[in-house]
Amino acid sequence: MQKEILIQKWLDGELNAEEMEAFKALPEYASYAKLSEKALYFKDESYDVDLEFNKLNDIISRKRQQKTETSTKKPVQWLNPLMRVAAILVVGMLVYFAPIYGDTTTIKTLASNKTAIELPDNSHVNLNAASSIQFKKGNWEEKRQVNLVGEAFFNVAEGSQFDVVTWLGKVSVLGTQFNVKQRVNYFEVSCYEGVVSVTYKDRVIKLPAGKTFKLIDGEIIEGETNEKSPSWSSKNISSFKSVPYSQVIHEFERQYDVKIETQNVDTTQLFTGSFTQKNKELALKAITLPLQLKYKQNTNKITLTKE
């Protein structure tokens, strides 16, 4: 025990002269001394902190450059609309077909684009303009969950619980057809088949087929629908039933990728009607005539005024 303490002190360079003598008197002294001396041959003197730091600096500044290059979007004139559509398709397909990009799949549509998606269990989703959905392929079997921003029509295959999560509320079903529309201050769920349950702020509302649930500026309105599927998906018509006029304008902007300005127009009044997604002139008439509004068109900007 005495010996162990002596050796430990020696290793830590704490021996005084007297202890040093005692240590040297140990029969194993020569072995220890040699081990200690030869240990220095294992030293690697070649590690140069400054050199390594310079190497690291190179790597990091390159990384930073890449980051700023991707984050500062240059104005891209060469990107004509056709190229944009192609780019979206390519990106969409990449994301859809390449699970290497991570577990989460995100599909987005831009204004005036729509798309149809098939989920891993053959459930179908039609995504309206300017919307996105996100889901995890990896654990789809255990958890059928889709995050939605915007509007989508779901045709869900039979199976375990299927959740659509939006920041305004959650919609859960087992297997059915329903539409979820979530826009700024607007949340609407329409059930076309089976039963869906809508969770909103700890309240659960059961919605049988033919019923709709609307949430406008925090107010819940329940209604009915006679359709078999949402008209935007089956007939390319956006239709509204007692919806604030501002929502109609936003929907128009999304469908035709335009900006609409209003002058002296009460955008809170409720609108019932529809507009086609195929003909802009016709659609403009459809949303202005009933309210006796006039419209003026510039490139990508439309102004509505009270007559």
């Binding site: 830590d12 072995s31 902190v49």
Partner: protein
């Protein structure tokens, strides 16, 4: 005090300071633990790049343990099948001009034995022993770097020394 509260690893001078004070210790830690085969240099670089990527989430106080853990994990990912080999410098005859060739051979033989004996130590023993004998670090410093008690360090180094002696002397 205020300064430490506000500093962030993302700030270049903080990052540089951390690199200059820790990189060599990490390099040696990896060498001593895993040997030279898997290029501990690269792992040090990779660990620091990871620190940079996460600089917003790692405080300067946490950087040390972040770096050691990250570098260690990177090594572990590669190490599984490899045997620990620490390179030693060639015994240079010029220091022993008056020594005969027989002596040189014995010395070389000794170093080979030493190398093999080191490989037989546990990782913990080897790291602590070499930090002490090669780097000349005090027990207290080693305890801080490894995050263990000083008693633990003493035990490891002492056990390592005894194992090496018995192994090399053939007892």
């Amino acid at each position: 005090m205020l300064k430490t509260l506000n500093t962030d690893v993302c700030e270049e001078h903080v990052y540089a300071r951390i690199f200059k004070s820790l990189s060599k210790d990490i390099f040696n830690f990896l060498r001593f633990k895993y040997g030279d085969r898997l290029d501990p240099r690269d792992k040090v670089q990779e660990a620091f790049i990871k620190l940079w990527d996460n600089c917003k989430n790692v405080t300067p106080e946490k950087a040390k343990s972040f770096l050691f853990t990250t570098a260690n994990n990177m090594m572990l990912n590669e190490i599984k099948h490899q045997k620990v080999v620490l390179k030693h410098q060639q015994i240079k005859p010029k220091n022993y001009t008056n020594e005969n060739p027989e002596f040189l051979m014995e010395e070389t033989e000794y170093m080979h034995k030493y190398q093999r004996a080191l490989a037989k130590l546990t990782e913990g023993q080897r790291v602590a022993f070499l930090m002490n004998r090669v780097e000349g670090k005090k027990h207290k410093e080693i305890a801080e770097i490894l995050g263990i008690s000083r008693k633990g360090v003493e035990k490891r180094i002492y056990t390592a020394l005894e194992k090496l002696r018995k192994d090399i002397d053939g007892i």
